[in-house]
Symmetry: C2
Subunit: 133 residues, 2 copies
Amino acid sequence: MSHTMKREPVKTPTSSELEILRVLWERGPSTVKEVHEALSGSKPVGYTTILKLLQIMTVKGSVTRNEHDRAHVYEACQPAERTKRQLAGEMLDRVFGGSASELVLHALSGQKSSHEEIEEIRRMLDEYERKLK
Amino acid sequence: MSHTMKREPVKTPTSSELEILRVLWERGPSTVKEVHEALSGSKPVGYTTILKLLQIMTVKGSVTRNEHDRAHVYEACQPAERTKRQLAGEMLDRVFGGSASELVLHALSGQKSSHEEIEEIRRMLDEYERKLK
DNA sequence: CGCGAACTACGAAGACTTTCGTTGACACTA
DNA sequence: TAGTGTCAACGAAAGTCTTCGTAGTTCGCG
């Protein structure tokens, strides 16, 4: 009955979901245990908390799980690039009214970026304009 | 008793609060009515909803209000620059692991920026490096 | 078999957000 | 003065998010 199912606009992940997604993006498909261990490093969090979150994310459709093994293996549905673009785009609109330069300005003002980092950004701008033509 | 009061780390505004703050930043000190009218343009929202939000924000400390007139006048406590920097900085850390170039990359990939906009970003990069020295 | 370890499923509490209806105070005016 | 319009204050409902305890299942092993 897929034709009766609403194609949701892929809501942006919540704060906790994002933490989990970052682990999945970095590690690739992982079990609850693996995600839990990865996140426990930074702050204490219960095993079942991660489990529950992953279950909810499965229902929401932001991750899929492979139940072949007893320890289910979870995987992000959307590639990191897509979700990051979505998040950056939202901030661009909601905070900076669509002005990319304003976003860059404020992003830089908050921390000290290295000369290399700045050079990297310049390279990307060149690349971006090259593609526009 | 200010010395007994905790100096909260100024939590980042919620989605609705941000919408209101943007109005206050743009218009300057405003009454509930004015904020309401400004926001009604984009989407329907009740007057008391805005009032309640502003009251909550007053308690949280993100806005102050002048009760001199019957229609209280609200004003953002933090300048736009500061809050924007905070929001951009958070996204930088939480999504892009602190990589400014990645943030720029994804911000640009989501929308089409004009040549002028790109030039503006380049100018800002120059400015940023100039100040580093 | 019976036990403990490893896992999933489920429910529910608590905190926050968002939204709005209702009430009451005030002030202006017919 | 009674009626009308403008406001603030409050309470409460509904929806999310986050967290975790508890219960039940399965597997390997002594």
